[in-house]
C-alpha cells in the first residue's frame, strides 16, 4: 500500500507517494537521493542515520514517514547555508573529526541539535548528547574538540539563528 507524504526536507516542501512501510532512511536515500544520510545497522542501534525532525535528532532507520506528515526534516545536505558551511561542518573538517566520515552526518546533526539547546555545553554534556552515535575511527576525541570549537565560534560572532 502506498501513502501520500508531504514533508519539508531541508527547507523544500516535497510531496511523495511511497510504500507505507518504507522507513524515513529509505525515503531520504532512495526517493529523494539524499545519500548523505548513512546507515550502520538499520535497527536503531548505532546513530549513523540520525536526522533532525522538527529540530530533534531522530533515528531515520526506525522512523516511519507516515508518522511524520508535515514535519520539518534536516539532513546533512541541509546544514550548510548555501555555499557557507555550518560552523560544525567547518570545525569537523579542520580538526580531523571525520576520518572515514561514515558516522559524520549523524554526529553533525546530533551536535547541531545539542548546540541549539545548549550553546555552551560542557565536554561532559557533549559526551552525553553523542553517546548514541557510534564512531569506530576517531576515538571521539577530535569529535568532542570540534563540537567545542564550533560552539565557541558560534558564540563569538553573531550567526543567524540556527533552525
Amino acid at each position: 500500500m502506498n501513502i501520500r507524504l508531504s514533508l519539508t526536507v531541508n527547507d523544500e516542501s516535497r510531496e511523495l507517494l511511497v510504500p507505507v512501510h518504507k522507513t524515513l532512511l529509505e525515503v531520504l536515500r532512495e526517493d529523494l537521493d539524499l545519500i548523505g544520510t548513512k546507515h550502520g545497522c538499520e535497527l536503531g542501534e548505532c546513530g549513523t542515520c540520525t536526522v533532525l525532525v522538527d529540530g530533534a535528532p531522530v533515528l531515520s532507520c526506525i522512523a516511519l514517514p507516515a508518522d511524520l506528515q508535515d514535519s520539518d526534516i534536516t539532513t546533512v545536505e541541509g546544514m550548510a547555508d548555501g555555499s557557507r558551511l555550518h560552523p560544525l561542518q567547518q570545525a569537523f573538517a579542520e580538526l580531523g573529526a571525520a576520518q572515514c566520515g561514515y558516522c559524520t552526518p549523524g554526529i553533525l546533526l546530533t551536535a547541531k541539535a545539542l548546540l541549539a539547546d545548549d550553546p555552551t555545553p560542557t565536554r561532559q554534556r557533549i559526551r552525553e548528547a553523542l553517546a548514541g552515535n557510534l564512531c569506530r575511527c576517531t576515538g571521539y576525541t577530535k569529535i568532542l574538540d570540534a563540537v567545542e570549537l564550533a560552539a565557541l565560534r558560534m558564540g563569538q560572532r553573531p550567526v543567524r539563528a540556527m533552525t
Partner: protein
C-alpha cells in the same frame, strides 16, 4: 624545528574532509546506476553440513526476480587471499563450514524481492558435527573441516628457534611461565560492506567495492570468474572504516559480478550488519603460553612463546596471522634468544584474519603483563625496567628483523612524566593497602595506573604473492593549469592516505595541497598499490610519490634553468613558483614552469615506484615480520575499579608514539586516538563469541563497543626520530598505538585492586571473581591455566642475530639514490 618543510608537519585538513562533512562522499552503497538490480545472498544456517542439493525453481518464479545462481553457475575454482590457502568458494557447492557461508544468490528488482526469493530456495543439507573450539577440533580428528593443512583440523603448525632458550633459562635469576587467553573480536566498521558490479555488453566488468585491497580483488576476480584480468576493472569506493575487515575477496563481490554478467544489468549487493558480523576476518582468539627468563636487574635472558589460534572456517590471512603472533615481540626489548611455536586450528566459525595490529595484540598482551609480574617479583618499577632493556637502534633482533630508529625511551619518559606516574604508583598502592572501612552505600572504588609498551611494522616487507615488482606505484602528471594529478592505487579507508599523497607531492613541488588532485584507486587507471594493510601506505606510497615528484621537479628545473639561464641545481620550488632563492623576483609561476617543461620534454608525466629493502631473514618463514622500520609506543592508563561491581572506569590514557615524523600531526593524533579507543573496546568489552553455533551478539547493541561515555580522555604525545626509511622520516600510526592499551589496562587493574585478569576482555565478572578469590586468601588470578595437548613441529633452528649491526640505509629496489 627548522624551516625545512612548508606542508609537512602542518595540521592541515584532509583533502577529502569537505565531502565528508557535507554528505557528498559516495560510499559503495551510495552508488546508484540506471537499471540497477539488487542482490542478496542465501547463507547457511548450519555450522557444518554437506550440501546435498539446491533447488532454485520456486525462487525463480517470484515476479521481479532476474536471476538465481548457485556455485554451479560459477567456475569451479577455490580461492583465498594467500596463495597457500586456496580454500574458499563464493557460493559453497559441496559443504558449508560455518553459519553464514553463502550457498546461493538472487538478483531482483529490489532488495525485498531478492530477500523473498532467497527464502524460497530449497537447500538440502546433511548436518555434520560442528567443531566450535580449538579443543573440540583437536579432539575430533575424524571430523575434518578441510582436507588440507598441517594435520587434522590444523591449518598451520610453525616452530622457529633462534638460539638456545633452555640454556638462557638455566642462567636466569627469575624464570616465569604464564598462560594467557585473548578472546576474538571484530572490526565493526560503521559502513557495512557493499559492492556494485556492472558487466557491459563488450564483455568487460567493473566492480565498485568497499575494499581495502582493490589490486588483490582484481587479481582474484580474474581467476574466480575465469576471465582476463585486463577486462576487469576494480574501483575502490571511499571506505567507511576498514580496520582489516575489508581485505579479503568476498562472496557478495563475486556474486554481484556473476549476476551482472548473467542479467546484463548493474547489480548491487549491500550486506546487512548481521552479515558483516559473520563475514568477520577479525581478531583471532589466541591461547598463549609464555616463558621468559630475567636477571635480577630486569634484563630478559630469553623467551619462549607458544600460541594456539582459533582460526575459524577458512584460511584467509591465517598463515600470516600465525607468524605474526610470534615474530614481532622481539622488536621491542633486548631478547637475546627466542623460540616461537604457533598453530592455527580450523573451527566451524567465521574465519579470523587481520584486524588492526594483525596477530600481534595477543602476544603483546601476554608479554607486557608478564613483564609487569616479573617487575614486581624483582622489586623494579615497571616503567624503569622497560626503559632499561630497549632494543638498540640499528641492530638486528634474535629473529633477524632489522630495527632502525627507536624512540621508545623518549615515549616512556613522556608518558611517565605527563601521567604523574611516579607519584601515583606509590600513592595508589599505599591507598590500596589500608583497607579503610566505608559506609555500605558508598561505592568502594580504587584507583590504579598501569604501563605497557609495543612496536609495530610500517609495512610488510614482502607481498602476499611472491614477485619482485614495486609494492607501490605513483604516476604524477603536471597540468598546464599549474595543478598536478596523482594516480595511485592506494585506498583511503579514512586514515587519510589520499591526503598524505597530496601533502608529499605539494611539499616537493612547492604547491598548496589543494593544487594536487588525487585520483582514487582504480585498477584501470592507477598503478598498483598492494592495499591498505600492515600500515604500509604512508611509507610505501609516500616514497613512490616523493620519487615521482622529484623526477617531475628535475624535468621542470631543467626547462626553467634554460629559460632563466641559470644552473638547474640553483633552483627551488616554493609558493607555486620556480626560481633561484637569492633572486626570487625572477621566479616563474609553477603553471608557466610546467609550460616550459612541456615545451622541452613533451607531456610531463612521471612514475615513482617503491619496494621495501630486501632484508628478510634467510630462513623459511623469514618473510613475515621484516618491515622498512618499526613504530614504537608507550602507554600509561589510569582507571578505577569498583570493588562491589567489578566495573572498570577509565579516566585517562597517556600515549607516547614514535612516529618518525608527523607528516600531519592532526592526522597522526587521530590515528593514535582511534587506536587507543579500539584497544579499550577490546580490553574491557568486545567479544566475538558463539553459542549453539551462532554468533552470540551479531548486532551493534549486543556487541558492546565504547561510546563517548566509556572513552576516556586520550593524551597523545608524538616523538620524532626521523627514520631513514620513511618518507621525510615518517613511520606508521594506524595500528601500533592500539597494542599497549590492553596490557596497560590489565596492569592498572592489578595496581588498583591486586587482581590479575590474564584474559581479554576483562569484564566486570572476571574482576569480581578475582576479588572474591582474593577475599578467600587465594591467588587473585583469573585466566586460563591449561594449554591443549598438541605437538608442535620440530623447530627450525637458526642462529640468533641479536645485536648484530644493521645497515644504516638498506639498498632498495627502484631507488634513485643507491647508497
Amino acid at each position: 624545528m627548522s624551516k625545512r618543510f612548508t606542508v609537512v608537519g602542518q595540521p592541515l585538513p584532509k583533502i577529502d574532509a569537505w565531502g565528508k562533512v557535507t554528505g557528498d562522499t559516495r560510499f559503495a552503497d551510495d552508488m546508484v546506476l540506471p537499471r540497477m538490480a539488487f542482490g542478496k545472498l542465501l547463507r547457511s544456517p548450519h555450522a557444518h553440513a554437506r550440501v546435498r542439493a539446491i533447488d532454485t525453481a520456486r525462487a525463480k518464479t517470484v515476479p521481479g526476480v532476474y536471476a538465481v545462481i548457485t556455485g554451479a553457475d560459477l567456475p569451479r575454482v577455490k580461492f583465498g587471499i594467500l596463495p597457500v590457502s586456496q580454500d574458499e568458494e563464493a557460493l559453497c557447492t559441496e559443504k558449508v563450514r560455518m553459519v553464514g557461508d553463502a550457498v546461493a544468490a538472487v538478483a531482483a528488482v529490489d532488495e525485498e524481492t531478492a530477500d523473498r526469493a532467497c527464502r524460497l530456495i530449497d537447500v538440502d543439507y546433511e548436518p555434520l558435527p560442528a567443531l566450535m573450539s580449538i579443543q573440540e577440533s583437536l579432539a575430533h580428528p575424524e571430523v575434518r573441516i578441510h582436507e588440507y593443512g598441517d594435520g587434522p583440523n590444523v591449518h598451520k603448525n610453525v616452530a622457529l628457534q633462534f638460539g638456545d632458550v633452555e640454556a638462557a633459562f638455566a642462567a636466569s635469576d627469575l624464570v616465569r611461565e604464564d598462560v594467557f587467553f585473548y578472546e576474538g573480536n571484530t572490526h565493526l566498521p560503521m559502513e557495512q560492506h557493499a559492492a556494485v558490479a556492472h558487466a557491459t555488453a563488450d564483455g568487460k566488468l567493473t566492480l565498485w567495492s568497499s575494499t581495502q585491497t582493490p589490486h588483490y580483488v582484481h587479481r582474484l576476480l580474474a581467476r574466480i570468474l575465469d576471465m582476463p584480468a585486463a577486462h576487469i576493472r576494480v574501483i575502490a569506493a571511499p571506505v567507511g572504516g576498514g580496520f582489516g575487515g575489508k581485505l579479503d575477496p568476498f562472496a557478495h563481490e563475486i556474486a554481484a559480478c556473476r549476476l551482472s554478467q548473467l542479467i546484463g544489468r548493474p547489480v548491487k549487493i549491500a550486506c546487512t550488519r548481521e552479515e558483516v558480523f559473520y563475514i568477520h576476518r577479525g581478531r583471532h582468539p589466541v591461547l598463549m603460553w609464555i616463558k621468559t627468563g630475567f636477571t635480577k636487574a630486569g634484563d630478559i635472558t630469553g623467551c619462549h612463546l607458544k600460541t594456539w589460534l582459533d582460526g575459524g572456517a577458512y584460511g584467509s590471512y591465517g598463515v600470516a596471522s600465525t607468524f605474526y603472533t610470534g615474530v614481532i615481540n622481539p622488536v621491542t626489548y633486548k631478547m637475546p634468544v627466542y623460540k616461537f611455536e604457533g598453530a592455527r586450528i580450523f573451527t566451524n566459525k567465521p574465519p579470523c584474519g587481520p584486524k588492526r595490529g594483525h596477530g600481534t595484540p595477543q602476544p603483546r598482551f601476554a608479554l607486557e603483563v608478564q613483564l609487569d609480574k616479573a617487575a614486581e617479583q624483582l622489586g623494579l618499577d615497571p616503567a624503569d625496567m622497560r626503559r632499561r632493556i630497549l632494543v638498540e637502534p640499528f641492530t638486528k633482533t634474535a629473529n633477524h628483523l632489522t630495527v632502525t630508529t627507536i624512540g621508545l625511551g623518549e615515549c616512556i619518559d613522556k608518558v611517565v612524566e605527563a601521567s604523574g606516574w611516579r607519584d601515583k604508583v606509590s600513592r595508589y598502592r599505599a591507598a590500596a593497602e589500608v583497607d579503610a572501612p566505608k559506609p555500605l552505600w558508598q561505592p568502594r572504588r580504587r584507583r590504579g595506573v598501569g604501563i605497557a609498551c609495543s612496536s609495530y611494522m610500517t609495512g610488510a616487507g614482502t607481498a602476499i604473492y611472491w614477485n619482485s615488482m614495486p609494492h607501490s606505484g605513483v604516476v604524477l602528471r603536471a597540468d598546464r593549469s599549474g595543478g598536478v594529478t596523482v594516480l595511485c592505487g592506494a585506498t583511503d579507508i579514512g586514515q587519510g592516505s589520499d591526503s598524505i599523497l597530496a601533502y608529499l607531492v605539494a611539499e616537493v613541488l612547492g604547491l598548496d595541497p589543494k593544487d594536487v588532485h588525487v585520483h582514487p584507486a582504480d585498477t584501470s587507471l592507477t598503478p598498483v598499490d598492494l592495499g591498505s594493510y600492515s600500515s604500509r601506505v604512508t611509507l610505501m606510497c609516500g616514497q613512490a610519490a616523493i620519487q615521482a615528484a622529484e623526477r617531475l621537479r628535475s624535468a621542470i628545473f631543467k626547462a626553467v634553468a634554460a629559460k632563466l639561464d641559470v644552473d638547474a641545481g640553483a633552483l627551488a620550488m616554493r609558493e607555486r613558483k620556480v626560481g633561484v632563492p637569492d633572486d626570487w623576483e625572477k621566479a616563474v609561476d609553477f603553471a608557466r614552469a610546467v609550460e616550459l617543461g612541456e615545451a622541452m620534454h613533451g607531456v610531463l608525466a612521471f612514475a615513482g615506484s617503491y619496494a621495501p629493502p630486501k632484508r628478510a631473514g634467510k630462513y623459511k618463514g623469514g618473510g613475515v615480520g621484516p618491515s622498512p622500520c618499526y613504530s614504537y609506543t608507550a602507554c600509561v592508563v589510569e582507571l578505577s575499579v569498583d570493588e562491589d561491581t567489578g566495573e572498570v572506569e577509565l579516566h585517562d590514557v597517556w600515549i607516547g608514539h614514535d612516529i618518525g615524523r608527523a607528516l600531519n600531526p592532526l592526522l597522526v593524533e587521530g590515528q593514535v586516538e582511534g587506536s587507543v579507543y579500539m584497544g579499550i573496546g577490546e580490553a574491557v568489552m568486545e567479544a566475538q563469541v558463539f553459542r549453539k553455533h551462532v554468533h552470540k551478539a551479531p548486532s551493534m547493541l549486543e556487541y558492546k563497543s565504547p561510546t563517548t561515555l566509556e572513552t576516556p580522555e586520550i593524551h597523545t604525545m608524538l616523538v620524532e626520530t626521523d627514520d631513514p626509511e620513511g618518507p621525510f622520516g615518517a613511520k606508521e600510526a594506524g595500528q601500533g598505538p592500539l597494542l599497549p592499551v590492553m596490557p596497560a589496562i590489565a596492569n592498572a587493574i592489578y595496581h588498583a585492586v591486586g587482581v590479575r585478569v590474564d584474559e581479554i576482555p576483562i569484564t566486570p565478572e572476571k574482576v569480581l571473581k578475582g576479588l572474591e578469590l582474593k577475599r578467600q586468601g587465594k591467588a587473585a588470578r583469573v585466566g586460563p591455566d591449561r594449554v591443549p595437548l598438541f605437538t608442535f613441529k620440530q623447530p627450525l633452528v637458526v642462529e640468533s642475530a641479536f645485536g648484530a649491526p644493521a645497515e644504516a640505509i638498506a639498498v632498495r629496489p627502484f631507488s634513485d639514490t643507491p647508497s
